[in-house]
Symmetry: C2
Amino acid sequence: MTNPNRTVPDAATATPSLIALDWGTTSLRAYLFDTRGALLETRSRAAGVMHVPAGGAHAFDAVFEGACGDWLDRAGPVPVLAAGMVGSAQGWREAPYVAVPAGADALAAGLVTVTTSRGATVSIVPGVIATGDLPDVMRGEETQIFGALAGDPLLDADRSGMLIGLPGTHAKWAWVKDGLIERFQTYMTGELFAALRDHTILGRTMRTPVSPDRAAFVRGVSVARGAQRTGLLATIFSTRTLGLTDRLAADAQGDYLSGLLIGHELNALAAMLGERGASLANQPLLLIGDDGLCARYVDALQVFGCTHARVVAHATERGLWRIASRAGLVRAEDGTPVHADQ
Amino acid sequence: MTNPNRTVPDAATATPSLIALDWGTTSLRAYLFDTRGALLETRSRAAGVMHVPAGGAHAFDAVFEGACGDWLDRAGPVPVLAAGMVGSAQGWREAPYVAVPAGADALAAGLVTVTTSRGATVSIVPGVIATGDLPDVMRGEETQIFGALAGDPLLDADRSGMLIGLPGTHAKWAWVKDGLIERFQTYMTGELFAALRDHTILGRTMRTPVSPDRAAFVRGVSVARGAQRTGLLATIFSTRTLGLTDRLAADAQGDYLSGLLIGHELNALAAMLGERGASLANQPLLLIGDDGLCARYVDALQVFGCTHARVVAHATERGLWRIASRAGLVRAEDGTPVHADQ
C-alpha cells in the first residue's frame, strides 16, 4: 500500500495530486498529498461545520478558500475530497447516507460534488446508515475505518470479522468483515460524561487532578463491569456516595465516572458480541482516535479480558486517500490509479 | 391512624401541637398540625438548603423564623420536626445517617436537635444509608416512605415485602418489609434527562410539545425495555437518529427520551426483582411524588406488566407526623402519645 506520512518528500518540488479534508462538527483538517499518497502538508482550522457562519454554500466556499486557496494556486486543478459533517444537511452539500453493509466502493460511488467559486470540484464522502428499528448513522468515521483497514497485516482479521472502536464524543463501534461495514452502534459516552460533569450534582464535588488518575478510572470500569444489570442510572450516583463516605477523593471522581461510563459502553459491546458467540477476550480489535483517549480504552478493555487492542494511527488521511483512489480521483504519475490497499 | 388532611378543624380555635418542615435542596414546606394530627395550615417557600444564604446556623434560623415565627408566636412552645437536606452537612445541623435496615423507631432515635434564637427546639430526622461496595443515601425520602406505610390497607403487603418508588431528580426505589427499609437504590433519571435535553446534541432538535406526548413516552419505555443489553448510552442516540430519518417528530423527542430513561430505570428494577425471584408484574408497589411524574411512571410500569401501581398522596406530612409521634414529640390532649400508625 501507499502509506501517507511514511515518506515526506520535499514539499516544494513534489507534485500535489489531492487535497483531502476532514471537515467535522468542530474543526477542519486539510491534507495535501503527492502523487504516491505521501503527505506534503497538513493544516488545521477551528472552522468546524458548527462554526461556519450562516450563509450556506458561500460561507463554506470562503472557509475552504481561506484554508486551501494557496494550495490550489500552487497545484492547479487537483481534485478535492472531503469527509465528515460537511456532507450533512447542515454542511456544504448533503451527501445521502449509504446503507450497511457498505464498502469503500459504495462510498466512492456515493460521492456528491460541489463546484467552488474558483471552479474547483469538491467531492464529498457520504455517511453510512444502519437502518432498522433503531437507526444509526456515521459521517467521517466510515473514512477512518477504511483507512484503518488499509494496512496489510489486518486483512486476515478482516476476513473473519473485526471490531473497530472510535472513542470520542459519540463513540462508535463497527463490525467489519470482508471490507464491509456490516453493523455499528453509537454510544454517547463522551458527551454524556461532559454533561454529567458540567451540569449535574456529580460535578460539584469533583476536583481536577494534577494528572489523570488511572487507578480511579480502572476502578470505575470494574464497578460498571460488575453492575451491568444495576445499570448506568444507578451506578453513576456512586461517584457521589463514595465521595460522601470518604472512599473516593474529590480529584479521583472525574476519572472514576469516566471509567463507569466507558465500562457500561463495553458492557453493551460485550453483550452484542455474546449474541454472536464471540467475546472481547479473543476478538480482533482496532482503536482509532485521540491517543490519550485510546489509551484509556486500552486500559478499560483489559478489565474485560481484551489484551490485544491495537491503536491505528493516521486512519483519517489513509482513508481519504483510499477513497480518492477507489473513486479514480488520484492517479499515479504513469496514469495508473493508485490504490491505497493494493 | 390519625390522618393529616382528612379533617381540617377551624385553624383559629384548634390547638397546634406540631410544626413540621420538609426542608429539601430547593424548597421549604411547613405544616402546622393540631393535637390529633390534622393539618391546620401549610406554607411553601423557595428557600431550599441550596438557597439559604451562607452563614450557617444563623441563616437557617432566620429563614425558619420568617416562615414559622408567627406560628410559634401563636402556639407557644410547640415541638418542631424537620426532614430532608436540612440535616445534611450543608444543612442546619448534620443528622448522621441511620443504616439499613431502618424503621421509624430508628429514625426517631436518631433525631438531632438545634435550638433556635427564640429558644425553640428543632428536631432533625436523620437520612438513611445503605452501606456496601456501592453505598447509597437518602434524606427526606425515608420520611415519605414511613408516611406511605402509615395507611392500614398496606400493612399486609408490607409484611410480605413492598416496593416504593419515589420518582424525581434522583429517583429512589426502596424495598420495605415489616416496617423496615431493607435496601434502596438511587437512579439519576430526572437529572440526567435535564442534562441531556439542555446540554447535549439531543436537545438541539427537540421542540417543546403543546402537551405531553404520552404515545412518544410509552414508545421510549418500550424501546428501552427491549434494549436492556444495548444499554442506555446507545439507545439514547436513537432520539436523534429517529428524528434524522423522519420517524420521530421534533415535539415528540423530549417525551421519547424521557421514556427511554425511565424504561432503563425500570429495566434495572426488574433485574433486581428477578434476582429475588420476584417480578414487577405481581409486586405490591407504591409511588410517591409529583402527580404528573407519578402518572408517567404508572404508564411506564404498565409496559413492564405492572398494572397495580398506586400513587400515595400526602406521604410527606403523614411521615413527619408519624415520626414525631414515635419520638414522643406529639401527645394527644389527654396526654397519650398519638401514633400515626395505630
